[in-house]
């Protein structure tokens, strides 16, 4: 969705249009849920964080700066909520590995689930600073500039963190045979 489309929807949300909010929800529900899941490694927690994120978005439209892209705002809220969730639960990484949902599809689906679970397990071995840049880059498809905007970091720092994270992940996935 373009920035203009988002801005129009947000204007309608601010004026009390619930259908506009549902449209925003439909657009961002999946990436927000996935970002939370990759941060937390738990589907129930990801669901709760996603609900909290959208409720906060709804309650704080007045604080949204229309000169910035909406996704950078909502992704920032998502990552902060996920980090808060980790802190509240006092569950410092590495978190327990949640097994993939196996046994319900053809071979390709199982392989896909295995790769997803192995990547997730590797993600949980790196600290949240590194994990956030990997999630933004590879799971949400953000550019360096966008990641910098979301995390309020210089582009150089984003690259540095991403490259270091990749090195860790490469070693971890090699150890796990992927």
């Amino acid at each position: 969705m373009s920035k203009t489309d988002d801005t129009k929807l947000i204007e309608r949300c601010i004026s009390g249009d619930r259908q506009a909010f549902e449209a925003l929800l439909a657009e961002y529900e999946k990436p927000v849920y996935n970002a939370a899941y990759r941060m937390l490694n738990n589907r129930d927690d990801a669901r709760d964080v996603t609900q909290t994120v959208f409720l906060k978005v709804f309650q704080n439209f007045g604080q949204y700066d229309p000169s910035r892209r909406f996704f950078s705002w909502i992704y920032r809220i998502t990552l902060n909520e996920s980090i808060n969730w980790l802190g509240k639960a006092n569950r410092l990484e590495p978190l327990a590995f949640e097994a993939a949902d196996e046994g319900k599809g053809p071979e390709q689906e199982l392989e896909s689930a295995r790769v997803s679970a192995t990547v997730q397990a590797a993600l949980m071995t790196i600290n949240t600073d590194y994990r956030t840049v990997v999630i933004l880059k590879h799971f949400l498809g953000c550019s360096y500039v966008e990641i910098g905007e979301i995390l309020e970091l210089p582009e150089k720092t984003v690259k540095s963190r991403l490259y270091t994270a990749r090195q860790h992940l490469k070693d971890e996935l090699t150890d796990q045979g992927l």
């Binding site: 249009d17 609900q51 409720l55 709804f58 992940l169």
Partner: protein, 254 residues
């Protein structure tokens, strides 16, 4: 041999397509002379392919519904009308057809020993009466937020009719049992809005609904001729397992 940081940065930048022509030339010259560098380039490229190829997790199907239910109503523009408002406010033809379809489905699901003549007569009469706008009185509402099912069920009344308004989302097939101990209350009709996929059966003291997965909005009509206080006990079952229980209370206005 350790690869210089400058070249690991260039390798990463190359993989991300974020490299200038001059940097690209410099990297190619380095990789041409450095087998370790080529291995690292291949490994990181493979890693990025793997990360980019991980399929996104699908959010729970009911999550959107829960979020919309948790968002407080606003005082701004007019909200989308509720089920009963639509049912009672749209042109007669539209909801007559909708309701008739529900009645047809209802009757097709009922076995002959479950149909009393008064029920049949009442359902037939109701198709005609809902064509006019009807004032309903809200009595009670419950919310569900379970893994298997989420949404709301409301109880309203219109004269001697009790209306159970279901607005639910389920991840799988769900059976809903509505029990009422007062034997003077009987099943009076069923209507679906926006969706199909819910079937109904009724017997004395109980209505059973079977809804397919997804978002479902439907209403069950009960005849409460005596206009007595009553309680509707609701049970929601997934694979025969009770996943939620609730009560809806009704007390007629004085």
């Amino acid at each position: 041999m350790t690869i210089e940081q400058k070249f690991t940065d260039l390798i990463n930048a190359d993989i991300d397509g974020d490299i200038s022509a001059a940097e690209k030339d410099e990297l190619q010259a380095f990789l041409g002379d450095n087998a370790e560098g080529r291995v690292l380039h291949d490994e990181l490229a493979s890693l990025c392919d793997t990360l980019n190829g991980v399929e996104q997790e699908a959010p729970p199907p009911y999550m959107r519904h829960i979020i919309m239910n948790s968002v407080p109503p606003t005082q701004g523009k007019e909200e989308s009308p509720g089920f009963l408002q639509i049912l009672f406010a749209t042109p007669a033809l539209k909801y007559s057809v909708t309701f008739a379809a529900g009645v047809f489905l209802t009757l097709s699901m009922l076995s002959s020993n479950q149909i009393s003549h008064r029920t049949f007569d009442a359902v037939t009469g109701l198709v005609g009466t809902v064509a006019e706008p009807v004032e309903t009185t809200f009595a009670h509402s419950i919310s569900l937020s379970e893994t298997d099912i989420a949404g709301t069920v409301s109880l309203r009344s219109a004269g001697s009719i009790i209306i159970l308004d279901f607005d639910l989302v389920s991840a799988d097939q769900i059976e809903v049992q509505a029990d009422y101990t007062d034997k003077t209350i009987w099943f009076n009709g069923f209507a679906q809005l926006e969706s199909e996929g819910t079937t109904v059966s009724a017997e004395t003291g109980q209505v059973r609904l079977r809804m397919e997965e997804g978002k479902r909005r439907y209403a069950v009509y009960l005849q409460n001729k005596g206009a007595r206080n009553t309680t509707i006990n609701l049970r929601f079952l997934a694979d025969g397992r009770v996943v939620h229980q609730a009560k809806l209370d009704y007390a007629p206005e004085d």
